[in-house]
């Protein structure tokens, strides 16, 4: 019985036809243009963290087509960019993660000559410790972490201390705190009178014991939706970003926000340009665009966080500039600290503590 052996033995004609088809197919592959940058821009940002019309306005003003991808938190941004820039031209980074990324050589220095609107920035933000001389970033928004609460459900209609969420069972089962190690441990450290960026193991142990004991009163660790839980009535007190609470305060007049008397951290979000982005020129044009006074004020109106853009702030209404949720009073600001990137070993230690708290 003979077994059929299929053979690959083309004639010369079939070989030529095949090669021709292959070459024709290859020419359809995308070509790398070395010439002028195409009119496209890829952004990477939080959700609802830009003005409602900003991207459309940018497209109208410059003709550059913008696409914005979203991430949920800084860790997602960092782990995605760590593996290599997948094609983003500009991204929103918080101050401590910017420090981390600068150290890991993941961002490129800015060309200030392409960003003349930097003169609009409030001088207090022009030389921060985490980015001297604004070499790698422009400031976008700044804010605080504090307590959002429902005035009708809270005794006296006002709160004033971190004790409510970290050390008391008054509102047991109706409390939510943030979901990441840095912010919860940091604010608890502030409550106990220590520094937000403490690396002392003894102090961190006290915080761990405090939080393990308080866990039975906490309903949920809500990384970014504390304000939704507050608005829907699941919790009456939550530890949240000030802008998130300000956004729901606009819809629900019963809600309020304060910065506790022990102090909290001041965070700053910035725009930076990652290495290996395909359109760095367009990215600079975009950064210049959002530093413009008019565009900056539109962003601040939607996002309801504090803007470091002095020119934009002048255009904002008094409900915004006078709101204690957005601009805390000066005596409280003196007790607040910036978040600092503490190095990988400390991160590891803090993460272990966080896992212990979660597992308890």
């Amino acid at each position: 019985m003979s077994i059929y052996q299929p053979r690959f033995a083309p004639s010369r004609r079939t070989l030529l036809k095949g090669t021709g088809a292959l070459i024709a197919g290859i020419t359809f592959l995308p070509r790398f243009s070395q010439a002028e940058e195409e009119k496209k821009l890829n952004l990477y940002n939080y959700d609802t963290y830009i003005g409602e019309t900003t991207l459309a306005d940018f497209n109208g003003a410059t003709g550059i087509e913008t696409k914005m991808d979203l991430f949920a938190d800084m860790d997602e941004l960092f782990s995605k960019m760590k593996a290599g820039n997948p094609g983003y031209d500009a991204m929103v980074v918080s101050n401590d993660y910017l420090e981390r990324m600068v150290k890991a050589n993941m961002v490129t220095p800015l060309d200030h000559s392409k960003i003349p609107n930097m003169s609009n920035i409030d001088p207090a933000f022009l030389d921060p410790k985490f980015d001297p001389g604004r070499k790698y970033s422009i400031p976008y928004m700044w804010g605080t972490i504090g307590l959002g609460f429902r005035t009708s459900a809270v005794e006296g209609g006002m709160l004033d201390s971190w004790k409510t969420v970290f050390d008391s069972d008054k509102y047991a089962g109706k409390i939510s705190v943030l979901g990441d190690a840095q912010n919860v441990l940091g604010c608890a450290l502030k409550y106990l009178g220590f520094s937000f960026n403490s690396t002392d193991p003894a102090e961190l142990k006290k915080v761990e014991d405090l939080l393990v004991a308080q866990k039975k009163n906490i309903k949920v660790f809500a990384p970014d939706n504390g304000q939704d839980l507050l608005a829907s009535g699941e919790v009456v007190v939550c530890q949240e970003w000030n802008g998130d609470i300000a956004q729901v305060m606009v819809e629900d007049k019963d809600l309020n926000y304060i910065v506790p008397k022990e102090g909290t951290n001041i965070w700053e979000d910035t725009w930076a340009i990652p290495v290996n982005g395909p359109h760095p020129g367009n990215a600079h044009v975009f950064l210049n665009f959002i530093l413009d006074a008019e565009n900056g004020s539109k962003i601040a109106t939607t996002v309801q966080y504090a803007t470091p853009n002095a020119a934009a702030k002048k255009l904002m209404p008094p409900e915004y500039t006078g709101s204690p949720a957005i601009y805390p009073p000066q005596d409280v600001l003196t007790k607040c600290e910036n978040t600092i990137y503490l190095g990988e070993e400390i991160q590891k230690m803090r993460d272990e503590i966080w896992t212990k708290i979660q597992a308890a």
Binding site: S79, R100, E234, Q358
Partner: protein, 290 residues
């Protein structure tokens, strides 16, 4: 049957793409993670690097994952997954049984109803459960109309287990349906004729004969439950951390990929141990095996 060596060209043309996919996108990444689990973060200039890794620094990560903290979480995960699997089995068996004994023209429709949730993304289904169970959710609103107070059904272990059972139910129903469908109904008739009660028939005839389906369903539900992190993250309260959440955090917030890889492999070894246990039990039993 032909020996594949006789027709190597044909064999590799057919098996090539599948093997390539398996090696390229499964074996190679897994091997990479395995190598990474024996490494650690590089120490450059006296401080830990953010992105660089040292490879082959030893078993440090595995020893760290045997710490009581992580073993405790692993044990809780196994426990929660086991409860979810048992509940899934107990609710899926009557459903599969019912579909098998339904009239012929109803069977495809009923099967489609079981499979329909798959058409919707897992994340959206979990969010839907939040809308159903929260304090102002649908269940509490419905109970409120008859005067029963709002119950805490979300952000606790009940919600996590319910979420897991809800999500993995089709995985249990389908293998059970496949096995029960193949069951020769005359066995059940014979058993009843010989004097056994319905209950005894079920225990001594139906269950052993459908054991392959039960085992397949249990494996298909238990193993993904072990690794789930989305359900405890969204539905769980302060106490709901499972090993999947810890692994996720190592790869994101903690930026410690070698340790995350080590815990992942510990989880895989635990899964292998469970599979070996079930193979051991199956070989010792006198019943029908897969």
């Amino acid at each position: 049957m032909d020996n594949w060596k006789d027709n190597k060209n044909v064999f590799w043309t057919l098996a090539g793409p599948g093997t390539f996919w398996l090696v390229m996108f499964f074996v190679v990444p897994l091997a990479f993670l395995f190598i990474m689990s024996f490494g650690g973060k590089a120490i450059i200039n006296g401080e830990m690097s953010i992105t660089e890794y040292d490879y082959f620094t030893g078993f440090g990560n595995y020893l760290r994952s045997l710490d009581p903290l992580y073993l405790g979480i692993m044990w809780k995960t196994i426990w929660v997954s086991a409860i979810a699997t048992v509940l899934c089995l107990v609710t899926a068996y009557p459903i599969a049984f019912g579909i098998c004994f339904a009239p012929e023209r109803w069977k495809p429709i009923l099967l489609m109803l079981v499979v329909l949730p798959f058409w919707i993304n897992l994340l959206i289904r979990t969010y839907a459960l939040i809308a159903v169970f929260r304090t102002q959710g649908y269940v509490n609103l419905a109970l409120g109309t008859v005067g029963l107070g709002p119950y805490e059904m979300l952000y606790n272990n009940f919600a996590v287990i319910f979420g897991l059972v809800y999500v993995y139910m089709p995985f249990m129903v389908l293998p059970l349906y496949a096995t029960i469908e193949r069951l020769d109904k005359s066995f059940l008739e014979a058993s009843l004729d010989l004097g056994a009660s319905q209950y005894t028939t079920f225990l001594k005839v139906t269950v052993p004969l459908t054991m392959p389906g039960i085992v397949t369903g249990v494996i298909l539900v238990f193993i993904p439950c072990l690794g789930s992190f989305l359900t405890p993250d969204l539905l769980g309260g302060a106490n709901a951390v499972m090993i999947g959440n810890v692994i996720e955090r190592q790869f994101k917030a903690a930026n410690d990929w070698p340790f995350g890889a080590a815990i992942s492999f510990m989880l895989m070894f635990a899964t292998f141990a469970a599979l070996m246990l079930r193979a051991f039990i199956a070989s010792r039993s006198r019943g029908v095996d897969v």
